[in-house]
């Protein structure tokens, strides 16, 4: 089965949600999203990094160079306070939207 393409705009939400647990590097973020979604959501590298830079530019996440589990230099991303606030809002919106969409699909 072809991995599901992400709905536009939801990647930011997924990244921030993932980072809400702990600081992570890009590779780990992609892996975590894939694992949790049981392989349904595959983050393309081509969209992951631009998204990370965009989020950093918007001030929702911060980056820092650190050491990865296998002792290599990696860039770790952390959710900022502003990011946490935005995340809460976006989750709320997402819930409303998905509930509404599924309602329409089932009932119509």
């Amino acid at each position: 089965m072809k991995p599901t393409d992400l709905v536009q705009g939801t990647l930011d939400l997924l990244i921030m949600r993932t980072l809400a647990l702990e600081p992570m590097h890009g590779w780990a973020i992609a892996q975590r999203i894939q694992q949790i979604s049981k392989g349904v959501l595959q983050v393309q590298q081509g969209s992951l990094y631009p998204a990370l830079y965009r989020l950093e530019e918007q001030g929702f996440i911060q980056s820092e160079w650190g050491e990865s589990e296998n002792k290599r230099k990696a860039k770790f991303y952390t959710l900022t306070r502003a990011g946490k606030q935005t995340l809460e809002k976006q989750i709320e919106q997402w819930d409303r939207l998905s509930a509404a969409v599924s309602l329409v699909i089932r009932e119509a």
Binding site: Y49, P50, E57, G59, K73, T80, A82
Partner: protein, 892 residues
């Protein structure tokens, strides 16, 4: 709120980092991608692939790394810079597509910015710029408050007394410019040099270019040394580096050259450049009989000073005012002490040096700056109008861009880039024009006798000024059209068009008002200059040459000098090339005056003291200046020491003293002069201006030079049809025949009088030039707007004509619109002009013979502008009548 603030800070930091550490950001991007790739390869290998297979698969999966990086870069804000390049490139292409518009816009901006920059350059060098010396901000100057204007000159005794005031100044110094003759002969034309105190160069921190400067020890006694200015050294000594210890003859005395000054030092008298400097204490040697150094009554030195550390201007003034009574006793003549005891010394800023031309020209320059600023505003309004019209043509393009998803801000930025490109190009050409223009202005300022020297090479200040103007004008004329082009109703064509015409009309109306102000000012200045140069002076200056002689330098005085003057006057009057000639103590219209109180027992008011201007003249004076003798006779060679004293009075004085009665044969006495008591009036002369062009005529009494017991220096005046060189040669020959060593240089009296109105001439010429510029800009603006209106109304006019409207009516309809706009502009402009005239009291001071709110000037200007509107509207109106109804309707 805090979150927002922090976030903004983060964003700024992020932007800055990526902008300024681009290479670093790029390598971080590389490292991050590599890390990802390595993880991917490891994952593949763990799944059982070989090393090579894993790498290939991972590469495939990552796709084009270059592409990601491009996308990441987009998020990095590097975009802004590349967008700018793109905007500039696009803007240049757009401007190249309409070369007519671009040329008109750039040219009018170049003229406007160039003119402003030229005037600013002059204003900067005359009024604003600090001296190029050590810590100019510390320098102070002393002045004395008097009834009329503050007095800035003092005696040497006072300078020394100020030096002795404790805890005040670190050094007190002066520069006094004077004319010197160089070389052994007396024929050479005088050269401007300066006396300076010994501490002058040290205090100003000037180190010599060659040799040494004048030091305190040079000024301890009468040490004949001199240091040359750079230009004088180059011109006269061919940049000879072995110049030191050579001797030059200054006013007949040998003076040793000790050094040459650096190129950029021109002294503390702005506008005048002394050719050389000599110690102040050498003055008695060089000026001989005319020396002022030891006279307490000679007030000839500007006093400048650098204070001790910590002494502020206010503190220095307080100390000086406290010491004033004792300074007065110590340094002033007893006769002056009484008058001056109620005055106070003041300390003023001297960071910009002092300057004769600053006094004369700062006001005209500020006014011209304002006027040229107005011209630039009018030019901006024109370009704004042109841009508005263009917006309509580009509406389709802009709408497409907006529809394709460009943000309004993005399009705005593009349009503003175009405006700034225009103003930038205008400023660049303007700067090129400004440089020769400011040199031209300097030559306009220069007097015939003394060349004004000002440094007008464009420097960083001038560049910044022009850049600022470019930015401001670009924003000014670009903002409104850009905003209206991108406004939400951009697709709503008819409404936008109406709004454009309204805005365009408002622009033209304000142009008319601005140019009305400008033209009124130009008219006022032109009429002031006319009034000054066409007033009845009471004499005819044409073909008159005057020059100064002082045989007292050679030790000739009293009886001998009087005889010498008598001889000289005879010989001059018998010289075939000269029509008439005479001598006088005072030159008419000389701004220098000799006034005394007169009394006459035979007058209508015998007790009254009548203040009158005085002059001592030789026979032929009235003929030379062609001032008519109305009654009685001129002085004759017989009115000498052996005959009774004789006087000639002017009509005004005679009327005041004796009313309508014949003044001939009556007597007057000069109160302050025991030699001039009961002098018989032998003639009545027409009123003549003695004090200066702006001063008008005062009462004047003339006495005979040949009866003066102690004659002083003298003015030679000759009238001749021959050319200046011939006159100079014959007069010099005659002077040398009676007094071989006496130098004399004649100059045209007409030119000297012309010099008195030189600032008025400058203001009149330039303000009228700007007026002309403004009128042409308004003309272009009106014409453009009317053409646009006619084009827009083609359909409507076509229908009107199809329905039977005649050509004349259509023409009038269009013309009326132009006239209404001009009328509105005038209606707004006139009250503004009247208000300005009321508020600017300095404007009234600059005028002569008319009021700032002169109704004739205002009315003439209004009529002129209506005429301009009619001319500008005529062509579009005529074009409207040529519209073919059928074509117009189809066009719709």
């Amino acid at each position: 709120m805090r979150g927002f603030f922090e976030r903004s800070l983060d964003r700024i930091r992020f932007r800055l980092r990526t902008l300024f550490h681009r290479a670093e950001a790029e390598s971080e991007l590389d490292a991050e991608m590599r890390f990802h790739l390595e993880n991917l390869i490891e994952q593949k290998r763990a799944a059982g692939m070989s090393a090579a297979e894993a790498r290939d698969a991972a590469r495939r999966e990552m796709g084009s790394i270059g592409l990601y990086k491009e996308e990441c870069r987009d998020s990095l804000g590097v975009r802004l810079l590349s967008d700018l390049w793109q905007d500039i490139g696009y803007g240049l292409r757009v401007l190249r597509q309409s070369p007519g518009f671009t040329a008109v816009a750039v040219l009018s901006l170049a003229l406007g910015i160039g003119a402003n920059t030229a005037i600013f350059t002059l204003l900067d060098s005359v009024v604003l710029r600090q001296l190029p010396v050590k810590n100019p901000g510390e320098l102070m100057q002393l002045e004395l408050q008097t009834k009329r204007r503050p007095m800035e000159n003092f005696s040497y005794a006072f300078l020394q007394a100020v030096e002795r005031v404790p805890d005040l100044f670190e050094s007190v110094f002066t520069q006094r410019d004077s004319e010197f003759t160089i070389g052994p002969g007396g024929d050479a034309s005088p050269i401007r040099g300066a006396y300076v105190t010994g501490n002058y160069f040290d205090t100003l921190g000037i180190s010599p270019f060659i040799g040494r400067t004048i030091s305190t020890s040079d000024d301890a006694g009468e040490n004949p040394v001199t240091v040359l200015s750079y230009p004088f050294w180059v011109d006269q000594f061919g940049s000879d580096r072995s110049i030191t210890n050579r001797t030059i003859i200054v006013n007949g005395a040998a003076v040793r050259i000790v050094g040459v000054l650096p190129k950029n030092f021109t002294g503390v008298n702005v506008g005048a450049v002394p050719a050389f400097y000599v110690p102040l204490r050498l003055e008695p040697v060089l000026a001989k009989d005319r020396s002022m150094l030891k006279k307490r009554t000679s007030w000839w030195l500007a006093i400048l000073a650098r204070p001790r550390p910590g002494v502020t201007q206010a503190r220095a003034q307080a100390i000086l005012q406290a010491a004033w009574p004792s300074l007065l006793k110590e340094a002033f003549d007893p006769r002056d002490q009484n008058d001056l005891s109620v005055r106070k010394p003041f300390v003023i800023d001297a960071s910009r040096g002092f300057s004769g031309i600053r006094e004369d020209f700062s006001r005209p320059l500020y006014y011209l700056m304002g006027i040229s600023g107005l011209v630039l505003l009018i030019a901006c309004a024109n370009i704004a109008n042109l841009l508005l019209a263009r917006t309509k043509a580009r509406q389709h393009e802009i709408a497409t861009r907006l529809a394709l998803g460009a943000s309004r801000f993005r399009v705005l930025r593009q349009l503003m880039t175009e405006s700034l490109l225009l103003s930038g190009a205008g400023a660049a050409i303007g700067l090129l024009i400004a440089s020769p223009c400011s040199r031209l202005l300097v030559s306009l300022i220069s007097e015939a006798a003394m060349t004004v020297w000002l440094d007008v090479t464009p420097d960083l200040r001038i560049l910044s000024f022009a850049t600022l103007l470019a930015l401001l004008t670009g924003l000014l004329f670009g903002a409104a059209p850009a905003l209206s082009a991108t406004s939400d109703s951009v697709r709503d064509t008819p409404r936008t068009a109406t709004r454009h015409t309204f805005f365009g009309k408002a622009l033209v109306v304000s142009q008319v008002s601005l140019s009305l102000l400008l033209l009124i000012a130009a008219g006022l200045f032109a009429r002031t200059f006319w009034n000054l140069t066409h007033q009845d002076l009471g004499f005819e200056p044409r073909n008159v040459y005057t020059g100064h002689i002082d045989p007292r330098d050679l030790g000739i005085k009293d009886d001998a000098l009087r005889r010498l003057y008598g001889d000289l006057n005879d010989k001059l009057n018998h010289e075939p090339g000269l029509q008439t000639a005479s001598l006088a103590m005072m030159s008419p219209v000389a701004y220098c005056c000799w006034g005394e109180d007169l009394q006459s027992a035979e007058s209508l008011h015998p007790e009254e003291r009548t203040n009158s201007a005085m002059n001592m003249v030789a026979p032929g004076y009235f003929a030379t200046f062609t001032t008519p003798i109305l009654l009685g006779r001129d002085f004759s060679p017989d009115d000498d020491a052996r005959h009774p004293l004789a006087a000639i009075v002017d009509a005004g004085l005679a009327k005041h003293l004796f009313g309508a009665a014949n003044p001939i044969g009556r007597h007057i006495s000069v109160l302050g002069d025991k030699n001039l008591q009961n002098v018989e009036i032998i003639g009545l002369a027409k009123d003549a201006n003695q004090q200066g062009l702006r001063k008008g005529v005062e009462y004047t009494a003339y006495f005979s030079v040949l009866q003066s017991p102690h004659p002083e220096d003298m003015l030679i005046a000759v009238r001749s049809n021959e050319n200046a060189t011939a006159v100079q040669t014959s007069v010099a020959r005659i002077v040398h025949s009676v007094s071989p060593q006496t130098p004399v240089t004649l100059s045209s009296f007409e030119a000297q009088i012309g010099d008195q109105s030189k600032q008025d001439r400058l203001t009149a010429i330039l303000s009228n030039f700007f007026g002309l510029l403004a009128v042409s800009l308004v003309c272009i603006g009106l014409y453009g707007l009317m053409s646009y209106t006619v084009a827009r109304r083609t359909g409507e006019i076509g229908i009107r004509m199809a329905l039977g409207a005649e050509g004349g009516r259509v023409r009038w309809m269009v013309l009326r619109e132009a006239l209404v706009m001009a009328g509105a502009g005038i209606a707004i402009g006139v009250p503004c002009a009247v208000a300005c005239a009321k508020m600017l009291s300095s404007l009234q001071d600059m005028l002569f013979g008319l009021k700032a709110s002169d109704p004739a000037t205002v009315a003439a200007t209004a009529v002129l502008l209506l005429g301009v509107a009619a001319v500008a509207g005529f062509l579009p109106a005529h074009r409207a009548t040529r519209i073919e109804p059928m074509v117009a309707l189809r066009h719709e």
